[in-house]
């Protein structure tokens, strides 16, 4: 793009030709991320509505199924993810102060906690798979009294696996983004990413965290006490 070069060469980081200033570009990107997250929020919506309907139809079976989840590991994972969000927030602050090396280290630590979360979650799935709690032909919970209860419990686990897998997918994307940023921050713009990019990654990371803050009580805690 010929018009591109004229504006790009002067000011790091790169100013795309459609923007008039860096302030406008930064605002558009952060606003775009917010719009994207609003869309993401509704993406998770049907899973939560499905859970609500399931619990209204089958309160007892939902409680029984929920008691099969591993509350200890779920709680540990919540702590891991909340801590990762703290580190991500600190990385954002460091980037804002132009301390790019510190920001890179914090991003690396954030990503490692994300990986720890995924490892623990994977171990949980492995356990549940062994207990025949994965929906489908092999679904055989040890305490279902009749076929109707078993079906309802299977629906709980369908939503459990769908929601946690979708969440894990989002987190994996977040880990990849954090690692890419941590690496890229070692180079100065325009070759490396600008400082405001850390802020964007942070918005996404906190969103993934907030989704878990809803999934954790819904899947592990609230139905356990009832039914």
């Amino acid at each position: 793009m010929s018009a591109h070069d004229a504006t790009a060469a002067s000011a790091p980081p790169v100013l795309e030709p459609q923007f008039g200033s860096h302030a406008q570009q930064d605002f558009a990107r952060s606003f775009g991320m917010w719009v994207f997250l609003a869309s993401e929020l509704l993406f998770f919506g049907p899973l939560l509505l499905g859970y609500l309907v399931l619990r209204m139809h089958h309160p007892e079976a939902t409680g029984m199924a929920s008691r099969h989840t591993d509350m200890l590991l779920g709680t540990i994972n919540t702590a891991v993810l909340l801590t990762s969000s703290l580190l991500m927030a600190l990385a954002g602050h460091a980037a804002q102060a132009d301390e790019r090396r510190r920001a890179a280290r914090l991003l690396l630590a954030t990503a490692l906690l994300g990986i720890a979360f995924l490892a623990i979650k994977g171990y949980e799935w492995h356990q549940e798979f062994g207990e025949h709690l994965f929906p489908g032909a092999g679904f055989r919970p040890d305490d279902a009294r009749d076929a109707g209860t078993a079906h309802a419990m299977e629906l709980f686990f369908l939503l459990y696996f769908a929601a946690t897998a979708l969440h894990a997918l989002h987190l994996a994307i977040g880990v990849a983004a954090a690692l890419w940023l941590a690496r890229g921050l070692r180079r100065a713009p325009p070759r490396g990413p600008g400082n405001e990019t850390v802020e964007l990654a942070g918005l996404y990371w906190h969103f993934v965290d907030v989704v878990w803050i809803f999934l954790y009580p819904v899947l592990y805690l609230t139905a356990r006490s009832g039914g």
Binding site: Q18, F27, A162
Partner: protein, 548 residues
Amino acid sequence: MTSAQNDAAIVDDSAAPPEREEPGYLTGRYRLRDWLTTRDHKRIAVLYAVSITFFFFLGGVAAALIRLELATPQGDLVSDDTYNKLFTAHGVIMVWLFLIPSIPSVLGNFLMPLMIGARDLAFPRLNLASWYLYMLGGAIVLWALLAGGVDTGWTFYTPFSSMFSNSHVVAALAGVLVLGFSSILTGLNFIVSVHTLRAPGMGWFRLPLFVWANYATALILVLATPVLAMTLVLVAIERLFQVGIFDPALGGDPLLFQHLFWFYSHPAVYVMVLPAMGVASEIIPCFARRPVFGYRFMAYAILAIAVIGFLVWGHHMFVSGQSMYAGMVFSLLSFLVAIPSAIKVFNWTATLYKGSIHFSAPMLYALGFVGLFTVGGLTGLFLAALALDVHLSDTYFVVAHFHYIMVGGSVMAYLGGIHFWWPKVTGRMYSETWGKIAALVIFAGFNLTFFPQYLLGYAGMPRRYHSYPEEFQLLHVLSSAGAVTLAIGYLMPLGYLAWSLLHGPRASANPWRATGLEWQTESPPPEHNFTRPPVVVREPYAYTPEEP
């Protein structure tokens, strides 16, 4: 005045096109590779236009076969199974591959940056990605159809789609899912661009109504489409694992599917018609030479339709067994949508009052849009009434109603927009005579196709059957004859518009003497739209009626 004099008055070709300062966006870099890697919103719009036209005619072929089958009461042309697959193909292609992307992705993509005085959309790479997702989704849907088709109807109702259908449901769901992400990216791009890239002086209440309409549409795309996406994933999981989240036999709830599906698919109707309203709001003031009547009310009405449209999905479920009280609330809310819709119709009409009306081709399409949208909207009120809906639900009355909105409304407006902005997009003038003839043929063919379907539905003809009692034949034959006329009408622009690309006279920057920013730059515009950054100093639609 004769129509020829009218044309002379409206087409301003007195000023020869001045020397260009920058080459147009179509000039140079013409290899396929340049087009497939372009980030220019105008080129992406052209890519969309070509692909969407292909799918429009593909969906049209399915419709033609349906109408051919229905010419006789016996199911003699295709089997009932094939018939199911035909109307599913027609619905899926027309809704997701044509109507939803049509005006936003083609005209919106081309015009939104121009109209707000920007050099491009906020995220050009995302814009190109959205076209690739569209093509991928289209390819998957096409594969599902070629591999044997889908027989669920475009609504994918469970548990039929998840447990019983023996057709390629999962592939079709996957295709629609990918198309959904394409919509979301386009919507996101529009929202951010309107918020951040408006030219100096372009306040919110100086935005053309086309921009308002596409902005409201983008809000719906971003907030409703993800719900459909997840719902389709759940249907696919249910089908693959035989777990019944939507199957009552396995502890699930089929109404949950319908609620989730229509939470997207009703607002999606407004995705299809709001941009059409935007197009009409540009064409009518220009060819009546009058400012649009009640500009602010028009803008508020657009937002009101978008917002209330989120709250009426339950009117698709009056006979589903949902709570009677829910039905009453949904009925009331559906009547409420009629208010902003009526404001728009009255304001278009008031814009015409004492105007200097030129019956050029875009205007004929726009006036056709207003009339047909009004008929479709009024029959929508019949269906929003609880008791009447019990009688009309799942009959041809419903089919006629939504085709009046979707085809009579959206397709008419899309074609009107294509004609109106053709000089801007291509730099050529099309044949005004052929344009008018096509508009009239389409208007006549459309009414002949779909008006008999109101009568059929009222008399009790259910939708989605390939055979019917003999007393319905006359109306069915009329409808099929209309479909032939309509097909001819749709093929005509393909011919004369293509001809104009090579042989049409060069267009000046502003052949219609219109007021929008897109007419201030050359035809076709340079790569970054404006040679000098525009500054807006006037209200929109500053037209003055001509002396008689």
